[in-house]
């Protein structure tokens, strides 16, 4: 009887988590394919590879928490599931998360630059690393904010719990857009590469 209960709980936890995990791994593999085809850019811009884990993690931390915040607001009835630019609560959360992400990207680029300089490793000038990180952050932030808000509102209006969707959504599309826009930012800064 006791083991039956444990087996049931384990199986339930397993089955509930599996689809989202498969989806986010697929997203990761697509992101990996983009990273794998960036070897030229990574080799010609020393310091870029150091930034990649930070740039990917920032999106999860910042926009995952934006999603959780909006979804909690919906559940509590403070936020209406409609896209309108007059909702102060949503506007404040969106602007704060966007600025947080850019701040973290700037910190990351600066930190990477100084650590590499201190350890006498090759690194591109600080303004190049900063510009790439900020342009990628602005582009992917815009897309992620739009995606997170529209998916949460659509899910909520259709009776789904946004809490179970936000995490995997950010994990899946965050890395793909993050790395694609990083590639675009590199092309913009390095002039067509």
């Amino acid at each position: 009887m006791i083991n039956m209960n444990l087996r049931k709980l384990t199986l339930q936890a397993y089955l509930e988590a599996l689809p989202a995990l498969v989806l986010s791994s697929l997203g990761g593999i697509i992101a990996g394919l983009i990273l794998g085809s960036m070897t030229n850019e990574l080799q010609s811009i020393p310091g870029l590879l150091v930034l990649i884990p930070a740039l990917l993690a920032i999106r999860g931390n910042v926009y995952g928490s934006l999603g959780a915040r909006i979804s909690t607001g919906l559940h509590q009835g403070f936020i209406e599931p409609r896209i309108s630019f007059s909702d102060q609560r949503v506007n404040a959360a969106v602007i704060a998360s966007f600025l947080n992400a850019l701040f973290a990207a700037a910190i990351g680029a600066t930190f990477a630059y100084f650590l590499l300089t201190l350890s006498a490793e090759p690194v591109v000038p600080l303004q190049i690393l900063l510009s790439i990180a900020l342009i990628a952050g602005i582009l992917s932030g815009t897309v992620l904010i739009t995606a997170v808000i529209s998916v949460i509102f659509t899910a909520y209006r259709n009776g789904l719990n946004p809490d179970t969707i936000v995490g995997p959504l950010v994990a899946t599309i965050g890395d793909i857009f993050g790395l694609s826009f990083l590639l675009i930012a590199v092309r913009i800064i390095m002039g067509g590469g």
Binding site: I2, N5, L6, L9, T10, L11, Q12, A13, Y14, A17, L18, A20, L21, V22, S24, S25, L26, G27, G28, I29, A31, G32, L33, L35, G36, S37, M38, T39, L42, Q43, L49, V50, L51, I52, P53, A54, L56, A57, I58, G60, N61, V62, G64, S65, A96, N100, F103, A104, I107, G108, F111, A112, L115, L116, E121, G167, P168, A171, D175, L179
Partner: protein
């Protein structure tokens, strides 16, 4: 939010430095470069799922730190089972994609052992960190929702990359 974000970003930069010290290996085997975001993402997802479930069980009063608590043991077992399921699949998919997109330098067996072994160690680490952090936030009377998920997600993906690189070093 800002100080935590700055601390987490510095942690990720430290990981980036370790990653870039392997750059010649990573550039030589593009399939390993494919695995970098996958390992980071999957380790983080595994960690955030487990912590979200532990937090909910904790809020509902179902979680006790006892070896016969089914919510505790069930969530630990499901995390390990999930990792044993997903990481070999990642290995096969990565091998297939790498063979299509790049030179097939690594054998399917090499990729499969790298992902499976990394996955197993990552899930064990994730379980330990999630339990310690959930227990700590319970003792310190902090809301596990605010504390556990960011800590576990970031530590799991940093550890994920360390384990991945260590196994690459060991097997290649």
């Amino acid at each position: 939010m800002l100080p935590i974000l700055a601390a987490l970003t510095s942690l990720e930069i430290a990981m980036g430095l370790v990653l870039s010290s392997f750059q010649s290996t990573l550039f030589y085997y593009p399939s390993l470069l494919i695995l970098v975001p996958v390992i980071i993402g999957t380790a983080g997802s595994l960690g955030s799922t487990l912590s979200a479930r532990l937090s909910t069980a904790f809020h509902l009063g179902l979680l006790e730190f006892r070896y016969d608590n089914h919510h505790l043991i069930g969530n630990i077992l499901s995390t390990i089972a999930l990792s044993i399921t997903i990481f070999p699949l990642i290995g096969i998919a990565t091998w297939a994609i790498a063979t299509w997109a790049f030179e097939p330098i690594l054998s399917p067996f090499q990729i499969l052992s790298i992902t499976t072994l990394s996955g197993l160690l990552i899930s064990i680490f994730t379980v330990i960190v999630a339990l310690v952090t959930t227990y700590g936030s319970y003792r310190l009377k902090l809301d596990p929702d605010d504390v556990v998920i960011p800590i576990v997600t970031n530590l799991s993906d940093v550890f994920g990359i360390f384990v991945f690189l260590a196994i690459v070093l060991l097997l290649l």
